[in-house]
């Protein structure tokens, strides 16, 4: 407990501008989304908001596109989170092991470059990398005398993987940074003590590093899921959900329902269901963290 100063209610004056702002522009709109999900809101029809009860939700659960987009979202999120965390940890461990400072800093800086590129620019860049005419990959195929068509975004079978790879390339460096910081938070005394006790490198990693990193693991996963689950920018720029519905994730589907079909009520219902799924997954993770941490 920190010692606090008398007249604690003065605090309300300090926080009220921020709280009022967030209430009117975040809590209120969120409630409005929930409210709208029980109405038919179609601005083009000029019929106003008509109460239709659970009809939107019934429609959501009977909508094959909802299941397709949910499935794609889960694949996209699971693939991204898995590789962000594991590859990020792997890279952090590699960098941490290097003793040659110049080499270490050069490699670290190069791997970190993607962070400094605007996400939309990343999306365009990779759209071009997957493009048959502009990519450098056919160059490699030609050199190896391979006759493979390179157009990952053009085929429904590969498009989602291609988008996920882009997300992995872009965000893994962030997680490498986080892991590096997490690794440094383990106090060196524990390692020294284990060395005295005669633990070898594998044992030290297995019994000290991993358990210490567990809490970070869950936190990063949680953070990543929240950020990726409704990540709209990347998929929208790269494929707009196509070809067909192969990269249609919840975010793009909600956006299409809201701003292309102008079906605000239905989009709200879709979003509420999606938000609930996301909130459930991350609460379970936070609960696990509290239990074990």
């Amino acid at each position: 407990m920190k010692p606090k100063i008398k007249g604690q209610n003065v605090g309300y004056i300090f926080i009220s501008p921020l709280i009022i702002y967030l209430f009117s522009l975040s809590i209120y709109p969120m409630i409005r989304v929930l409210y709208m999900s029980f109405f038919s809101v179609q601005p083009t029809l000029h019929a106003g908001e008509i109460f239709i009860g659970f009809e939107n939700y019934i429609k959501v659960f009977n909508d094959p596109l909802f299941y397709i987009s949910l499935q794609n979202t889960i694949i996209f999120v699971a693939g991204s989170v898995f590789f962000h965390l594991l590859l990020g940890l792997f890279l952090a461990l590699l960098i941490n092991k290097l003793t040659h400072n110049l080499f270490k800093n050069v490699c670290r800086t190069i791997i970190l470059i993607p962070i400094a590129i605007t996400p939309v620019a990343v999306a365009w860049m990779w759209k071009m990398i997957y493009h048959p005419a502009f990519s450098f990959v056919p160059l490699i195929f030609n050199a190896l005398n391979l006759d493979i068509t390179w157009a990952l975004l053009a085929y429904p079978e590969t498009a989602l993987t291609a988008v996920t790879i882009t997300n992995i390339w872009h965000a893994t460096p962030y997680y490498m940074l986080y892991w590096l910081a997490a690794l440094q938070s383990i106090s060196p005394e524990i390692y020294e003590a284990s060395e005295v006790d005669g633990a070898n490198m594998q044992q030290r990693f297995r019994y000290i590093t991993l358990p210490q990193l567990k809490i970070f693991f869950i936190f990063f996963a949680c953070w990543d899921i929240i950020n990726t689950f409704m990540y709209w920018d990347l998929v929208w720029v790269m494929t707009r959900g196509g070809p067909g519905y192969s990269t249609e994730i919840l975010a793009t589907y909600i956006y299409k329902q809201a701003f292309q079909a102008l079906n605000f009520g239905y989009a709200s219902a879709l979003g509420s269901v999606g938000f609930l799924v996301m909130a459930t997954v991350s609460s379970v993770l936070i609960y696990m963290m509290r239990e074990r941490g």
């Binding site: 100063i5 709280i19 969120m30 709208m36 590699l94 071009m128 689950f229 809201a258």
Partner: protein, 273 residues
């Protein structure tokens, strides 16, 4: 041991090269002389800055407009965020009022609200307030997403300053407002700058709100501007890559400046949860 170290070096090299290839290819793509676009070689024959010169000075100077809009939005958002978040961070850090933790959790929860989802009521609110097609609408909504981050960064900083400093100033007859302006602000300069720069970065990268709340070509931001190099039936590849590079330059600069604080900010969030 030597053997393991060699494997580590080789693996690091492989990953570094993997991460570097797309960037190399993007940068060289913009530096190739016109006409070399279809002849794919690993190295450009000569380096030329034509594409950049064309984007910046040619054709109606669109990119200047994009830059202006992005800068206006980012700076306004950053200022509003700091004005709202700094006193709140001080309040949360120094006073133990009823509901302190509840309000903090609420701000944390706010970070979970997906942008796509909130853009639906935002769109309606903006239409009701007759603010469609204004930069102000975009700024208002951007602040919602920078506020929590700035708040937690600043709160972490104020938490690290011992309250005894405030107390001694108060005893010496300084008012609460005086404490903030005469003591807290001067020692928080670096942190204010760091959280401001982070807000700037977030807002600069923002795409969804600009896309949804404006349709006027005059109000396009840099992130939307990148796609301008794409026509209906053609792709101006060097121009596209050069736009992407130009759009990223401010991000690169800001990131180099704040790297240290940025990581600390994220991790402080991690350790709080």
């Amino acid at each position: 041991m030597r053997m393991i170290y060699k494997v580590v070096i080789i693996l690091t090299l492989i990953f570094t090269i993997l991460w570097f290839i797309p960037i190399y290819w993007m940068i060289t793509g913009t530096l190739r002389p016109p006409g070399e676009m279809w002849v794919r070689t690993l190295f450009p024959s000569t380096l030329s800055l034509n594409t950049y010169i064309d984007i910046i000075f040619g054709r109606g100077k669109e990119f200047a407009t994009f830059y202006r809009n992005s800068i206006v939005i980012s700076i306004a958002t950053t200022l509003i965020t700091l004005v709202l978040a700094t006193p709140a961070a001080y309040g949360f850090s120094r006073f133990k009022f009823k509901g302190n933790t509840t309000f903090l959790l609420l701000v944390l929860l706010n970070q979970m609200f997906p942008k796509v989802l909130l853009s639906i009521p935002y769109f309606l609110m903006i239409s009701e307030l007759k603010m469609y097609n204004t930069l102000f609408a975009v700024i208002l909504m951007d602040v919602v997403y920078t506020l929590p981050f700035a708040l937690f960064m600043m709160k972490g900083w104020f938490d690290s300053i011992p309250p005894a400093i405030d107390e001694s100033a108060l005893i010496d007859g300084c008012s609460r407002v005086g404490v903030i302006f005469r003591i807290m602000m001067p020692i928080s300069k670096t942190m204010l700058f760091a959280s401001g720069a982070t807000c700037f970065l977030f807002t600069w990268n923002e795409y969804l709100f600009c896309r949804t709340f404006t349709s006027d070509p005059e109000l396009r931001t840099v992130t939307i501007g990148i796609g301008e190099a794409i026509g209906q039936f053609y792709i101006d590849f060097p121009r596209l890559m050069a736009s992407a590079t130009l759009a990223s330059i401010p991000v690169i600069i800001v990131f180099i400046v704040i790297q240290k604080y940025f990581i600390r900010g994220i991790l402080s969030g991690a350790l709080k949860m």
